[in-house]
Symmetry: C2
Subunit: 345 residues, 2 copies
């Protein structure tokens, strides 16, 4: 199998290198090809998602992404929108057809103290957020800024809702069998469609799943005040962007949060943290999320669950024995990566 890595900007190259080292150990038969994306791709090719990268994806079985983007005051942010690093990421998602973004939020036993929540609330949290990634207000053609007016359109169609809901129901079947669908159906027509279609699909094909519906404002509250009530959460693109970042605070460090984006073709696997330009190049970034993303790549991209489990166990051990600075420890990127490598059985 062939994997394309896109290290990107900031700490992306450092954490991707760590993930690649672990991948090579667990899946030595995999071919790895590195390409450019984001700001560095713009600097090199004048395009944050250049043709040479596009071409390389054609026969890839999975894509491992680092991070894209620069500091708030970076020159990249002064470019026209379609040339900015983030646009490269959005175009990549679109090109791969990755419509379902999976973000597991798990508090590791023994690491409850890292959470900003009281330990008794954080303990045992195990949520999977499934965010629709190609629709809603992100990609619709009808958008404009013109003089003193601007608008964007939040749009969904039934097929778009159903394909991502299927992923949520399928995931719930391997978990506790509960799905919470999140919308703002008391205000939005687009949420009315979302709720109707998710319900109909459950009634037709997933009768064993317990489905409930909650409003996005209410979920924002409950996910931090009573996180244990959730198993799988499924929601549209913008709500998913907000809620998944919010939920990511529960384990206490973004450095612990991997993600998988699945769709029609090759999946996209990436840590959810940003490019952290302030610590880029210093060798101190926590590579755990990138390494765990490589684990998700093995599980969902290459269907190698044993390899994924191996990585998860090794990361859990390394986190306890060699915590990085964001976790209050002292390990740098290399020390942590070595700890993972030597914990692999």
């Amino acid at each position: 199998p062939k994997i394309v890595t896109l290290p990107g900007d900031g700490i992306g190259p450092e954490v991707t290198a760590a993930a690649v080292a672990v991948l090579r150990e667990v899946a030595p038969d995999v071919t790895i090809e590195e390409h450019l994306i984001g700001g560095i791709a713009y600097d090199t090719h004048g395009d944050p998602f250049p043709q040479v990268t596009r071409d390389a994806l054609k026969d890839a079985d999975a894509v491992l992404l680092g991070t894209v983007g620069g500091a708030q005051d970076s020159a990249w942010n002064l470019l026209p929108r379609h040339l900015r690093p983030e646009s490269g990421l959005l175009a990549l998602r679109k090109a791969l057809g990755c419509y379902a973004n999976l973000r597991p939020v798990r508090v590791q036993p023994g690491l409850e103290h890292l959470s900003p929540l009281k330990a008794e609330l954080a303990r045992g949290v195990d949520i999977l957020i499934v965010r629709e990634l190609l629709g809603g207000v992100y990609f619709d053609g009808d958008r404009k800024i013109d003089g003193d007016t601007a608008y964007n359109t939040m749009r969904y169609t039934t097929p778009e809702v159903e394909r991502v809901a299927r992923v949520a129901f399928w995931a719930a079947e391997q978990r506790k069998g509960r799905v919470t669908s999140v919308d703002k159906a008391n205000v939005l027509e687009v949420s009315e469609l979302w709720r109707r279609d998710v319900t109909a699909l459950r009634d037709r094909e997933y009768r064993g799943i317990h489905l409930n519906h909650e409003y996005v404002d209410s979920v924002a509250m409950l996910i931090v005040s009573d996180p244990s009530r959730y198993d799988v959460i499924v929601t549209e693109n913008l709500f998913g962007d907000i809620l998944s970042d919010l939920a990511a605070v529960i384990p206490g460090s973004l450095g612990l949060m991997p993600s998988a984006s699945l769709g029609d073709g090759a999946g996209l696997f990436e840590p959810i943290h940003g490019s952290a330009p302030d610590i880029a190049g210093k060798g101190i970034a926590n590579p755990a999320a990138a390494i765990m993303s490589a684990g998700m790549l093995l599980r969902h991209g290459l269907k190698r669950p044993e390899g994924a489990n191996q990585i998860d166990r090794a990361v859990a051990l390394a986190l306890r024995e060699h915590p990085t600075r964001d976790l209050g420890g002292k390990a740098d990127t290399q020390t942590f990566t070595r700890a993972v490598l030597s914990a692999l059985e």
Copy 2:
């Protein structure tokens, strides 16, 4: 001065009665007129915001609202959207021209233990969220559900952005002088307008204010992991809905969260908690948020800051000495209200 009270549904009448008792004590010269809104207005007049209520608002100086809406499975939720209780509330906001919703989030000294956050994070939190209340995806005409497609439009104009930003800058002038404007400018054109116009207004008229811009997903994270970094937050309608409910968990009970909605005419003052149908009629609801909303009514609606301060002090005392059940105490609505009344100096 004349105040219209709209007790509404669920626990609305109980908590409004408590707030009215306190108002009568602090501002005995005020005329109070009660009218219907929400589900009860629909049941009585076939309209959640009936003409008789509309008419009563014409010469009101301020409006004190309870809560609207029923349980998830309430018959009201099966009505066409424009007849549901929530639509009555949206129509009321529109009729009053209340474009700026102010939600203070304050952790009272000595009550840090109520927060789901660790006490050291909750301590001293004092944020004012200013939510735009009449624009964005909430009210725009261009919205539809039709067969297997649905959409809503998120729209803003420069005058809409400026008028609410002014309220935020004005509020910051009486506080720590810092405003964080929240958008999703890396994806949305409508956020690009928002950011541009907020910045231009600051540069033109509020040069003493420190303004920064953050993305909504990032604020969702930071507001619970590092709440002390914020002074005033200003944002558009939907982001404000989500973030203000989220921030409301910080003090530990929705029962402690008042709000004021200001605009062209009479202001609207309401607790942010819902109608809590499960405890309605039992006399155990916490009326603190409604009473504090009456305080905001005195401060912003009738320009009587001394009365507002009197109420705030009395509520703080009552909360410590007679906590209600949602706060882990035993006081019922009446006991708490009496405690506030007797703590008024």
